[in-house]
């Protein structure tokens, strides 16, 4: 008998396709969270695998903090267009302007402010399900996440009261106002993502590859220097995120390993300029991917607290 077996990437792929199709079959108004980052790039390919030759039956949704890398936005828009998908963008700026979000005094990062914007978009479009690219190997609170993660009418995650998930039978039933977050990449590791990008010849934004950039040192990390202030008569959107006199600035050969926005993404020094180089780098890495995320270093339970409040 010939070998009827799948390698690990094919296993992960068929598992994720099955989940995508369950979403299409069980929900009325699902959306897919697409940031332009490497994990959501894999999600898009999996959606193509699950649904072509039909159109991908869910719109893409992205929440902008206003501090995005321009390369990421350009890539996001172009990729959505290539795939013929509807892209919905909601911004923290809008939410601050209309008062649905309020910044904590002295806080620079807008990471937490994505929560009300995301919940607002879910309400606005009456989405009953949002597919995200989160992986369990990223962070230990995420390690407890289900494929189908139930959220109450406030968008909250209750880790002590999760639905048991048995075999490949996902319970997507909801009452009015409740919704589901679905994570098809739950079982993928950072290495799997890069190996899949390589196998599928997927394009990723240029900032994943080595380039020259001015960075400054803060909190043990090299943060990218924000763009110069465009209009001096308006408040600086990067106030607090510019180097202070005691924070050294350096021109580096670097890349991103994981992308949040410019304020919370640490750059890593790296000469890796091909996917193969990145795979070699990930294989040899001695710190986790999230080690370069300022938003996770806030406390031991930083991710858990954000997820309980409705973060994806």
């Amino acid at each position: 008998m010939k070998g009827y077996h799948l390698d690990h990437l094919q296993h992960l792929e068929t598992e994720a396709m099955h989940i995508m199709r369950e979403v299409a079959g069980e929900f009325e108004r699902p959306a897919l969270l697409f940031s332009g980052g490497k994990d959501s790039i894999c999600l898009l390919r999996l959606a193509e695998k699950a649904f072509r030759p039909s159109d991908i039956p869910l719109p893409f949704l992205n929440v902008e903090t206003g501090h995005e890398f321009p390369e990421l936005i350009e890539f996001r828009d172009r990729r959505a267009k290539q795939l013929g998908a509807k892209l919905i963008v909601r911004t923290v700026d809008q939410a601050l302007a209309n008062g649905t979000a309020t910044q904590a005094p002295g806080e620079v990062s807008r990471n937490k402010l994505q929560i009300p914007v995301l919940l607002g978009a879910i309400e606005e479009f009456r989405f009953d399900c949002a597919i995200g690219g989160a992986r369990r190997d990223e962070e230990k609170a995420r390690a407890k996440e289900r494929f189908f993660s139930f959220r109450d009418s406030f968008g909250q995650w209750d880790p002590k009261n999760q639905r048991p998930e048995i075999w490949n039978l996902y319970n997507g039933r909801l009452n009015a106002g409740e919704n589901m977050r679905v994570f098809p990449l739950s079982n993928w590791t950072e290495m799997d993502v890069w190996e899949y990008i390589k196998r599928e010849h997927l394009e990723v934004p240029k900032i994943y590859f080595s380039h020259t950039r001015e960075c400054f040192r803060r909190g043990g990390q090299w943060l990218p220097l924000p763009p110069p202030q465009a209009d001096a008569t308006k408040p600086d959107p990067y106030a607090g995120a510019r180097p202070k006199p005691n924070e050294p600035v350096k021109t580096m050969v670097c890349r991103v390993r994981t992308i949040a926005d410019m304020i919370s993404t640490g750059m890593i020094e790296s000469p890796a300029d091909t996917v193969d180089d990145i795979i070699a780098e990930v294989a040899a890495a001695r710190v986790t991917e999230r080690g370069s995320r300022a938003d996770d270093k806030a406390s031991e339970a930083a991710m858990e607290d954000r997820k309980k409040a409705g973060y994806f």
Binding site: H18, R52, P53, P159, Q162, P164, T189
Partner: protein, 450 residues
């Protein structure tokens, strides 16, 4: 509108990638048996931990642990868990050696959290049951082993932990092995391995221990890397539960005007173009015109691949339908017998209606009989219990509003399993494993066969 799939070279023309397979394992034990410590040790000694994770461990050791690194903090990701020193929910961990990738489901041992063990065990190839060498076999050891057996996990490892606390006594190790061997014959596990170890100190986890010269077997990791996981998947009888009907809207490519693909993950067997298949529940027989994938059509596909089938004839098929091979039809009917694990605080009641989700199909079901409840102390079935309460395992009879097309769980884990969902709350309350069907499906309309 880009409706047609972009073209990529067929996979055969790409550089060959070495096949690394995945072993899914599940660890279970009672509260202080040291499961999380064992997983921490596996990760630590196989160099799967990163510097920032070790740094975080050391930081929490200084604050809460009096300087002692607590490997359990690696998996106990929730604040309440770290505070109480227990594991609340299933945590998944990933690591790889050059030989294999591993997915570990770390499942809690408290009596009240058996549902999480069922969750973690349902997809596992191998279960590790931890036993405290001092305590020996306790009710929970039997419970966890019984669940592993019920869920048909093919391989079991009994990790006799804390051997350092019984002076590495071979006699104690053999005593525990005998306690297990007393009840194992009543279960359905064929492959059992006993390993003496100390998770805290790392003996026989990754490195062989100098304290157990009397033990000649492999270390735990050595065993995990080499245990033969013959395909868990059923390749004998073709089953495709239809998840989604793939019909392009206004395709620009004229060849797609009549495209109608039935999309799903193959739950059993192999399918080839030209092969005859029956569409259930209708019973109409057609043949496979095309096996569509994003990477191009293929001549055959097998479990657990995800594909879309195009049939020769226009057949009434929608989500919840099942395409099956005509040479090996499944069972079919509305009267079902099943083993069940109850997972909710509200007991299972005779006469109550639930939603039953089986493959891609959800139907209403009513529990007509509670035949028996498994006594964990004796592993014997007690007939006619009044109800099944949380964490109970038992056997029930059900009637469904529409016929189910299924195989016995022992034959096919995917077409032989179901969940029960409580109406109103939508809570997942039960995990069911169907007993072999009494008779194969009798299609309603065999005269319609094309």
């Amino acid at each position: 509108m880009p409706t047609a799939a972009p073209h990529f070279p067929p996979s055969s023309s790409r550089a060959p990638v070495p096949v690394v397979d995945i072993l899914r394992l599940n660890t279970c034990g009672s509260v202080d048996d040291g499961k999380s410590t064992l997983i921490g040790r596996l990760l630590y000694d196989s160099k799967s931990l990163m510097e920032d994770q070790i740094e975080a461990l050391e930081r929490s050791a200084d604050i809460t642990g009096g300087g002692q690194i607590n490997l359990a903090n690696l998996t106990d990701g929730l604040r309440a868990e770290r505070e109480q020193g227990i594991t609340i929910d299933v945590a998944y961990r990933y690591f790889a050696t050059p030989r294999r990738k591993f997915i570990i489901a770390d499942t809690p041992g408290h009596v009240q959290y058996t549902r999480n063990m069922v969750t973690g065990a349902s997809t596992a190839n191998l279960a590790i049951v931890l036993v405290d060498a001092r305590a020996g076999v306790i009710e929970q050891s039997r419970r966890h082993t019984a669940i592993a057996s019920l869920l048909r996990i093919p391989h079991l490892v009994v990790a006799v932990n804390k051997m350092d606390l019984v002076d590495w006594s071979e006699a104690r190790f053999n005593e525990i092995r005998e306690q297990f061997e007393e009840f194992l014959p009543r279960l359905d596990i064929k492959d059992v391995k006993f390993i003496p170890l100390s998770a805290l100190n790392g003996d026989n986890v990754v490195e062989p221990s100098p304290h157990t010269p009397w033990y000649v077997g492999p270390t735990l990791l050595g065993h995990l890397e080499t245990v033969h996981i013959a395909s868990d998947w059923n390749l004998s009888a073709f089953r495709l539960p239809v998840q989604w009907v793939n019909r392009p809207n206004n395709p620009t490519d004229p060849r797609l005007h009549d495209f109608r693909g039935f999309s799903g993950q193959i739950a059993g067997g192999i399918v080839r173009t030209g092969q005859k298949v029956m569409a259930l529940p209708g019973g109409v027989i057609s043949s496979v015109k095309e096996i569509h994938t994003f990477d191009g059509p293929v001549a055959e596909a097998f479990c657990p691949q995800s594909v879309s089938l195009v049939l020769e004839h226009d057949v009434d098929v929608s989500r919840g339908s099942m395409l099956v091979g005509v040479d090996a039809l499944p069972g079919g009917g509305t009267e079902l017998s099943a083993k069940i694990c109850w997972m909710h605080a509200r007991p299972l009641q005779r006469g109550k209606k639930y939603f039953l989700k089986h493959t891609s199909s959800t139907v209403q079901a009513i529990v007509t009989e509670i035949e028996s409840r498994l006594d964990m102390a004796t592993l014997e079935a007690q007939p006619n219990p009044a109800e099944l309460t949380i964490n109970d395992l038992g056997e029930i009879r059900l009637r469904t509003a529409k016929p189910l097309f299924y195989d016995g769980y022992a034959t096919n884990r995917l077409t032989g399993s179901f969940i029960l969902i409580e109406q109103g709350t939508n809570a997942t309350v039960g995990a069911g494993m169907l007993l072999p069907p009494g008779e194969v499906v009798r299609p309603e309309h065999t005269d319609y066969a094309i």
